[in-house]
Each structure stands twice: as structure tokens, then as C-alpha cells.
Point group: C2
Chain length 228, copies 2
């Protein structure tokens, strides 16, 4: 049985390995966890003892199969809760991280699976991250970004790529949220900024960067034209 703290370390290690595809070093984990290298060494020893990680002194940490499974289960739980918080309790994107962080530690496989059923087996969370299914399989995202849309085409916002609190608040300030209809009017040839119309109502200008961080589900061509 893992403590919440142990679970958080595991998640952090998983994420780091996922991005770098290499053994994680102590300082990286310490930075991610907001703690010291010494504490990390302590914890790594505990997790190695319990066979969740492989540890070589002065080299780094890798996950065992058991550790990998555990990390994926946590990610599954966290992302399912995010779906619940956004879709059913109407939390905004920038509010769910902290809550899901707590909820993911609730210990009950049954609860996770029933939540999954209740939410209708979602494949992605509201922040655009894939949700592993009960077998631990991730669905590959093939969704488009706003920046992938052509002029005169449109879609519905389904997720975000960047989940920093600041970015999510920026989006909220621009009235961009899940379900917002977005149609591209112009794309600047100089800086790539995108003039869009939201829900057929409000025109705004998005920076290129902004457009590259929001996923949309494109409308079929027959729905594509804007109704004024």
C-alpha cells in the first residue's frame, strides 16, 4: 500500500521518464516535488524497497512494471476526476488541477471504474490529456489545434495543451472555454495571429502561441460557414 506522498513521487517519476525517456536524476524529482535532493534519496530508497522503482546510486531512477502500472492508475484517476469536475460541477480549467490532485488519492478501484462508466468512458480530460483505460491503454490524440484550422473553417473547443494556471486564466479572460464555437476569419501572414469569432458573436484576435495551445474538434464542411 502506497501513501499519498509515495504516489506523488511515483507520478512525478513517471512524467519525467515519459518526456525524457531516460532515468530520472534526484535533483529533477526534487525540483518537481518542491523538496530537497536528500528527501528524494530517502523516498527513492523506500520505493525501491517496495519494488516500484529501480535505483542505482549516482545514476538515477527507473520505474518497474509494478511502478508503471501504479503511476498509470493514478493518472487515470486524476484525469477522470477532472472530467467530472469540469463537465458536471462546472469548474473552470484552471481550478481542477489542485482538486484532482487530492481526489486521485482516494483508494478504490471500484470507484474509479464506476466514475469511468458514469462519465461514459472519456478518452481525454478537459485539459486535453489522454485518459488510460482500465487496461492502461492511452488513446492517441488526433485532434486539431486552433492554429491548424484554415481560414473560414471552424470547430468547437475541446481541450487545452498547456495547463499552467496562468494560461488557463488567460483563456478564461478571453471567454474561451470548452464548447465554445470558434471560426477562423483571418490569419496574419506576419506574426501568425488568428482573428476568430466566438460562438458567432464576438470577434477576438489570438496570438499564434495561443492558437497552438487549444484543441478543437473541427466542424464538418457543411457546418463550416459562419452564420451572421
Amino acid at each position: 500500500m502506497l501513501s499519498s506522498t509515495e504516489e506523488n513521487y511515483l507520478k512525478s517519476i513517471y512524467k519525467s521518464i515519459e518526456t525524457t525517456q531516460k532515468a530520472v536524476n534526484t535533483n529533477t524529482i526534487a525540483a518537481e516535488m518542491g523538496t530537497t535532493a536528500a528527501s528524494v534519496t530517502d523516498m527513492i530508497k523506500r520505493l525501491a524497497e517496495k519494488e516500484y522503482v529501480l535505483h542505482q546510486k549516482y545514476y538515477g531512477v527507473l520505474l518497474t512494471e509494478k511502478g508503471n502500472e501504479a503511476a498509470k492508475t493514478l493518472i487515470r484517476k486524476q484525469r477522470l476526476w477532472k472530467v467530472f469536475l469540469v463537465e458536471w460541477l462546472h469548474f473552470s480549467w484552471d481550478e481542477v488541477n489542485e482538486l484532482a490532485e487530492q481526489l486521485e488519492h482516494i483508494r478504490s478501484e471500484e470507484l474509479t471504474n464506476r466514475l469511468d462508466v458514469f462519465l461514459n468512458h472519456p478518452k481525454f480530460d478537459p485539459l486535453g490529456e489522454a485518459i488510460p483505460d482500465i487496461e492502461g491503454i492511452f488513446t492517441e490524440r488526433k485532434q486539431l489545434l486552433i492554429s491548424d484550422l484554415a481560414i473560414d473553417s471552424g470547430g468547437m473547443i475541446v481541450a487545452v495543451k498547456n495547463d499552467t494556471s496562468i494560461f488557463l486564466q488567460e483563456l478564461a479572460a478571453l471567454d474561451l472555454s470548452i464548447g465554445t464555437r470558434i471560426d477562423v476569419l483571418e490569419i496574419s501572414p506576419t506574426d501568425g495571429s488568428i482573428k476568430v469569432i466566438l460562438d458567432n458573436e464576438k470577434e477576438i484576435l489570438l496570438s499564434k502561441k495561443m492558437g497552438e495551445n487549444v484543441f478543437v474538434k473541427p466542424f464538418h464542411s457543411r457546418n463550416r460557414h459562419i452564420v451572421y
Copy 2:
């Protein structure tokens, strides 16, 4: 900020005071919490330090106003989660206690209140316990028990009085659950046992004791008669 453990002690103290209307002694808490009197003394000191309880050596423990509020918030959270688990995730009565015990420690007022809204401000949990509202006010239950029903009258099961795991499992085995329609056919003059028909389908015999532990919402007279 209280730890989960501190919160559990507070809840235990609250419950004890609620039933006895007297200061709680160390051993009672120890028994309730499954720990030792010495540990309780330690914890009481911490809670007194933080001004959640009043403690007089060798006398007992009472809650401060602050402690009372905190305990009621926990109870509110726990019971709202139970409603969610039963009504939306279709857990049975006997499965929710352990889960709600974990969920009640999630720290977020906003979450509690949104859950309350989502669930449509329920006044009672599925086990029949009143849910304090955001102000901490409990609704008085005025619901009937199966044993209060007259012959030829009926109602719908809405809650249970006794929430021990064994009892809840017994109910499940008898096919008694929330929403089950129950109509009284006979009441034994000797032992008070009650012959009922469930959902107009299945006749069973309930002991008097059983009938005294299940709440029903009575049907109005026009609906009362059984349709065969």
C-alpha cells in the same frame, strides 16, 4: 489547518457529544477511534492547542464553537458524497461508508458547495442521516418507518436508520433498496413481523426489527392500493 486524523477525532467527539449530551471521556474516544487512551490524550492536547476542543484533565472533552463548525462541515461533506455515490454511481448502501470516509477529507469549500448544487441540495443522505446545509442547519426528519405503515398502505424506501455493514447487506439480500415500492399486507399480532410486497411483485416477511430500521416516503391515499 487540520490533518485527516485530527478531523476524524473531531467527528468522533462530535458524534459522542451529540448522543450523550455530555463531555466525552478519553476511553470512549479511544474505543471509537480504535486506538489507545494515551494517543487520545496526545491528540486532545493538540486539538485544544488549536482551539477546536475544551479539555479539562481527568474530566473530559467538549467542542468549541470552532470545533463544532468544523465537525458539521465534515458531516456535510461526508453525507453529500454518500448521496453522489448512491444516486449517481449506484453504489449500494453498504459500500458507501468507507468511500465517503475518504472523500470527506478533500479540502475545498467550493467543491462541497458545487456538489451540493449538483445533487440539488439534498436534505438527507441515503442512510437517512440529515445533511447540514451551508449554514450548518439540519432538517428534522419526519419520515415514517416501514413499521409505521398500516396494513394496506405503502410507500417508497428512501433511507435506512441503521447503517452497520451487516444490516445493509441483509437488506440487499432481501432486495430492499432505495426506490423499492413497499406495501404492507399483514402485520403479525404476535411478533410484529410484517408481510410486505415489493414493487408489486415479490412477497416477503420482514421482522419487526427490520421494519423499524427502514424509512419510507408514504404514498398518498389515492395511490395506496396495490395493483395486482
